[in-house]
Amino acid sequence: MTSLQHGAPPSPSPGSPDGAGPRPPGPRERARARRSEMLSKLDTRTSPYLFITPFFLLFGVFGLFPLLYTVWVSLHDWSLIGGNEGFTGLDNYVRLVGDEKFWNALYNTLGIFVIAVVPQLLLALLLADTLNRRIRFANLFRMTLILPYITSIAALAIVFSVVFGGEQFGLINQLLTALGLDPIAWQGDRYWSWAAIATMIDWRWTGYNALIYLAAMQSIPKDVYEAADLDGASRMRQFAQITVPLLRPTIIFTVIISTIGQMQLFTEPTIFGTNGYGGGNQGQFQTVMMLVFQETFDYQNFGYAAAVSWVLFLIVVVMGLINVWLTSRIKGAE
């Protein structure tokens, strides 16, 4: 408190009625000073914890607790109406291992993930390289890249579903017919349906990833390229042997983010389909998350849905660890 008076001499202390200069503090002032010192100590001690409490409290209740409670629910026979109907041990997991629908959903999820993410990241790299030049309207083109990213997923999934459409009426099938080709069964055929869904995903995310790569490319020191120029390396070689290796951390980052996101794929295939969470009449594009919804809402089987969720969580964790392991191996090899 004394330092306070030194620090702010012009403001008259409210404690001294006359407001005249420094004066030996009386017992009352001293008591007040002690009290405010204690208060300020209490403030500096507890405030940090008070400030971070809302975050950890809300995350704990609505994030961490449900995730952990999934394990508990998955060990029970638990229905929407009846609630907890008894402990069943690993029964739900035993059922899962033998459940063709689960393996089908996992196959679809992984398949769509691969055919969406691989071209997406390659295209994003090329786009970023294209933008990493002296061009007119650079800002306009950068803005174009994130336009799809900011739109509503559900709304655009509806639009794309109509673009792919049924056997005859979709724009793409009409284009194919006009070109003298056969229309494609976008809904009926498993792999074409994957392609349609992957297109929706890539439309949204390619530009976003390109922007991330562009930022990373711009932070590569220019003299690296100058040295390569002097050595007579072609543009293609520079891209393959300088740009891509230097971008590796960024690329791995985007792969991990895409993995976490795409393993939970739900919105696009749900809207694309016309049979709720079924993912096509044969389940040809039902993802794991759609299966969780189907078990929860159509069959009201919370316990089994929780078991599927938990296995999905473990798969995401394992894929993340594989990514990290690959990263460190690549680093070690260098």
């Binding site: 300020s40 500096t44 400030f51 709304a155 639009v159 930022a215």
Partner: protein
């Protein structure tokens, strides 16, 4: 970005003088390749592919349902927009008015709350000294990688316990904080608030909350705007959880348009696309007003990552 703008005048002159010997190298210190016609072709193609679905969505929304199956596709708006809007808001299965209102309320309250709680926590983790600070900072980063959506079933059970199933707060309260937000705010506080400023405020007798409120918050404004926009967009876009916990009678806008999409009768494309246009509209407004800031933020985040 700064490199591009400050560096621009120099290479514009330099290569012209030295073109014979080093054309491929561009301009000396600043290496920026010239764009070729192919560059512009690729960018133009990207532009068309990005814009076409949105434009077509709007065009069909201004016409009748048959426009959706026309080929070549209709590219000029028709005169049916207001009739479609009227039908959209009158549609009984979509509850579109409620949906729009709910989405505005939920997105705004989540954005405000995320900005407040995350800047509070970010400030504490960046500037205040306390036991366990390092641990809590790491914990925040870890929460960013946890796919919490997977805990959907127990979260539904929790909503039942609270009696929130079908109520608007069920799509607000679980999203009121974000690990990403805390981390972003912490980074920004570290960059912008000097320790001297904090000390000065302390010496003036400010309480810690007072320092947050009158010193930190004003300095954080640019980052807060970006975080608020990103959060608003994310909440507006949220689909999975809304579908799980809400009812068709009390939906968000994304849920509403799915009701139109899954209608049992013949699907009315003009109606669906009008709904889709409305579901996208606030996001487009944000894009046109703040697009450049968002581009900057995404690129900035990329370098740190």
């Amino acid at each position: 970005m700064t490199a591009t703008t400050t560096g621009r005048p120099a290479p514009a002159h330099a290569p012209q003088r030295r073109r014979p010997q080093s054309r491929r190298r561009g301009g000396g210190l600043r290496r920026m390749r010239q764009a070729t016609p192919l560059t512009y072709f690729a960018l133009l193609l990207t532009f068309v592919l990005s814009v076409f679905p949105l434009w077509w969505m709007f065009v069909v929304a201004t016409r009748t349902t048959t426009a959706a199956s026309q080929f070549p596709p209709a590219l000029v708006p028709g005169g049916n927009f207001f009739a479609n809007v009227e039908r959209l808001f009158a549609n009984t299965s979509a509850n579109f008015t409620t949906g729009m209102l709910n989405s505005v309320i939920a997105s705004t309250s989540v954005a405000v709350s995320v900005v407040f709680f995350c800047s509070l926590a970010g400030f504490a983790l960046a500037k205040l000294k306390f036991k366990g600070r390092g641990f809590f900072t790491v914990a925040v980063v870890v929460t960013m990688a946890v796919p919490v959506q997977i805990g959907l079933v127990p979260l539904l059970i929790l909503m039942d316990w609270l009696g929130w199933r079908g109520e608007l707060q069920s799509v607000i309260v679980p999203f009121m904080v974000s690990g990403f937000g805390v981390f972003m705010m912490r980074q920004y506080v570290l960059q912008t608030i000097p320790d001297d400023l904090m000390e000065a405020a302390r010496i003036d007798g400010c309480s810690t909350f007072r320092i947050y409120w009158s010193v930190v918050l004003p300095a954080l404004r640019p980052a807060m705007v970006v975080l608020a926009l990103l959060t608003f967009m994310q909440t507006w876009n949220e689909f999975i959880w809304a579908l799980a916990v809400l009812t068709p009678e009390n939906p968000t806008v994304q849920f509403s348009i799915q009701q139109l999409n899954q209608s049992a009768f013949a699907r009315d494309f003009a109606l669906m696309f009008t709904g889709a246009t409305f579901a996208t509209l606030p996001l487009l407004i944000i894009f046109f007003v703040f697009g450049r800031q968002l581009v900057g933020r995404i690129m900035e985040g990329a370098i740190k990552a």
